[in-house]
């Protein structure tokens, strides 16, 4: 079972009062384990909508979504929450660290939610922070770190529980191009060494270039795909 994500004929229509806004139409996509894949497309093309649907945060109007062979459509809210907790990592554009938690505590947040043993947790996360280049900054609060450093903590948080898939909505949009390149290096390295599947969205051409597979969205459908 190497297919991590499968979208079949996914359509999403938002209702705004009486107006219907189509966000996705007839999307078919299959993502294999270990892929490093980017969603590209202009603003409003449906990138965020697609990530939300894959992450079980939103339901498609039509079509089905399977994560590791399990159809999300049949899952309860609770099951979806558990799926996110154990199988999916999230990285956000604006980091979204908990402001009152240190780098270490933020990085271990998902492990806390999973009720992992404190000592094991600490060991794992300390090593992980070292790996993302934050050795020595364990006790910094988010406000005491740069954007790039905060995003590294967020990356550490997203992979700490070794999920099957990491979803990242424009993870480099808030940092300069130099930092963006560094973050991509990091994600690529983690993808390679831990074989974690990454799916991220972007409209930065420099970032698109780094993807191993690039899916272009346009007006809610897949316009074309490039594989490198």
């Amino acid at each position: 079972m190497n297919e991590i994500v499968k979208l079949s004929d996914v359509t999403k229509v938002y209702r705004q009062g009486k107006v219907q806004v189509p966000a996705l139409s007839g999307i078919n996509l299959s993502i294999q384990k270990g892929e490093f894949i980017a969603l590209a497309g202009p603003s409003g093309s449906g990138k965020t909508t697609m990530l939300n649907i894959i992450g079980g945060l939103d339901q498609p109007t039509e079509g089905s979504v399977c994560i590791e062979g399990n159809s999300l459509g049949t899952m309860s809210k609770r099951a979806l929450s558990r799926l996110r907790l154990h199988r999916i990592g999230f990285i956000f554009q604006s980091y979204n660290l908990i402001p009152v938690f240190t780098a270490l505590e933020n990085a271990e947040f998902v492990l806390l939610l999973q009720k992992q043993h404190a000592e094991k947790r600490r060991q794992k996360v300390t090593a992980l922070l070292e790996e993302v280049g934050l050795g020595g900054l364990e006790s910094r609060l988010p406000a005491e770190m740069s954007g790039g450093q905060q995003q590294r903590v967020a990356i550490a948080r997203s992979i700490a529980s070794e999920p099957a898939l990491v979803l990242a909505d424009e993870p480099t949009a808030n940092v300069d191009s130099r930092t963006a390149a560094d973050l991509l290096d990091l994600m690529e390295k983690l993808n390679r060494t831990k074989s974690i599947t990454f799916l991220f969205s972007t409209h930065d051409p420099a970032v698109m270039e780094r993807a191993h597979r690039l899916v272009h969205l346009k007006d809610g459908h897949i316009d074309r795909e490039t594989v490198r």
Binding site: T48, L51, N52, G55, L57, D58, R78, S81, R82, R84, L85, H86, I88, F90, F92, Q93, S94, N96, I98, P99, V100, F101, F109, V110, L112, L113, Q114, R157, D169, E170, A173
Partner: protein, 412 residues
């Protein structure tokens, strides 16, 4: 455990707001505790004074007496009653009494008055009249002709210590009867009703006046070492005397219904005041927690996104409320107790606010109020303030649990 850590740190994100909330909680609690302490203390003093100027905390009398106040309803054999009273630890003392109506006359005129005939030795320990003697001394022997009279009676009859008076009354046979008395002391309680209407004479003098037998008394006044033990002592005595004919046990509540009613009504007013304070405190806390939750909806969305359960979010906010409540009630209880201690020792001087005597159904209040916070009131107030905080946290907690994760990715 980490939820507590997160909740604790969340509270201190907005230090000022948290401190203001804790202070308001604390202030409300101090106010409530001091207020209740002063009321408890004041009611206690009132009851005790009234009992010691009247027929005791508990009165044992003939069951027919209270309705008719007729002198003929007497206790004939107090020996077994007294024997039992002597075994009870909460009983500080007891005094046999005869009470009735009489006329006091001198050459200047006469006044109608109520007498209490006493055995002076038995009064020593417990009666408040002894402390209220302003001229002469208290009665000494139980068969002399001495009389202790109120200062207003003394003025009206123009008598002083050493003066002679005649007391006349109807005896048990309905005949007119009189005795010569000599004023040995004059008392002043401050209550117009007592000072102008009450006098005391020795027990045996009253028996002669009324034609009563040697052992007959109107009632036994029972004094307790603490007025709060009244109900329990009353119950015990009722049980103990159930088999003795023509013996009724009454508490001060039944003997002085006006005072009991006053305390009940005043207490109800206090209760309403407390509830209002609590509602104000509760509204303040609700506002704080709700605001802090609304501000963090996005953050809660992130938590949900990462796989935190809505139930954990609910618990997080409840813990925040609990921590606020714990800090506020801890500080409020300590300061409230300190305030009570101050007013227990120094008292609150009401002459700062009013110049008049405070007089409740014949009982004059000491113008300095002393606090005496009852333990059960302390516990009830502290626990209910704490529960109020937690209760008030439930609605914001539910709101937090209903945060939507999808908004997170949208808002960027």
């Amino acid at each position: 455990m980490w939820l507590i850590k997160l909740a604790w740190r969340n509270l201190w994100r907005n230090k000022r707001r948290t401190l203001i909330t804790i202070s308001s909680l604390c202030f409300g609690l101090i106010l409530a505790l001091v207020f209740i302490g002063l009321s408890d203390g004041t009611y206690g003093t009132m009851i005790d004074n009234a009992a010691r100027l009247g027929a005791g905390h508990i009165t044992i009398e003939h069951p027919g007496y209270r309705k008719s106040l007729a002198t003929r309803y007497t206790l004939n054999d107090t020996a077994p009653l007294v024997r039992h009273l002597n075994t009870m630890e909460s009983v500080e003392g007891w005094a046999p009494r005869i009470s009735g109506q009489a006329m006091l006359s001198t050459s200047y005129g006469s006044v109608g008055a109520a007498f209490t005939a006493v055995d002076p030795r038995q009064e020593q320990k417990s009666s408040l009249f002894i402390k209220k003697v302003v001229k002469g001394s208290y009665l000494t022997d139980s068969d002399g002709r001495g009389a202790l009279i109120g200062i207003k009676i003394a003025r009206r009859l123009k008598v002083s210590v050493g003066s002679k008076m005649v007391v006349t009354a109807n005896n048990l046979q309905g005949e007119f009867s009189g005795e010569l008395l000599r004023v040995v002391g004059i008392f002043e309680t401050g209550s117009a009703m007592i000072d102008g209407y009450v006098f005391q004479i020795p027990l045996d003098r009253a028996r002669k006046l009324l034609g009563m037998g040697d052992d007959e008394v109107s009632h036994l006044a029972v004094f307790l070492d603490n007025q709060r033990k009244t109900d329990r002592a009353e119950q015990k005595l009722r049980n103990a005397f159930a088999g003795i004919k023509n013996t009724a046990v009454l508490s001060w509540r039944e003997v002085m219904p006006d005072l009991a009613a006053y305390i009940e009504i005043d207490g109800a007013a206090n209760y309403i005041f407390q509830v209002i304070i609590f509602i104000i405190i509760g509204a303040g806390i609700l506002n704080t927690i709700l605001m802090s939750v609304m501000e963090r909806r996005y953050e809660f969305g992130v938590h949900l996104c990462l796989g935190m359960s809505p139930a954990s979010l609910l618990v997080l906010v409840i813990i925040e409320a609990v921590l606020l409540g714990l800090m506020g009630t801890a500080a409020g209880t300590l300061l409230g107790l300190a305030g009570n201690y101050y007013f227990t020792v120094k008292g609150l001087d009401m002459t700062l606010f009013t110049r008049e005597n405070i007089d409740v159904s014949g009982v004059v209040l000491d113008p300095i109020l002393y606090s005496d916070l009852y333990a059960e009131h302390l516990i009830v107030i502290v626990v209910s303030v704490f529960l109020l905080t937690v209760l008030v946290g439930i609605y914001p907690a539910l709101k937090a649990a209903r945060s939507v994760p999808i908004e997170v990715l949208r808002k960027q």
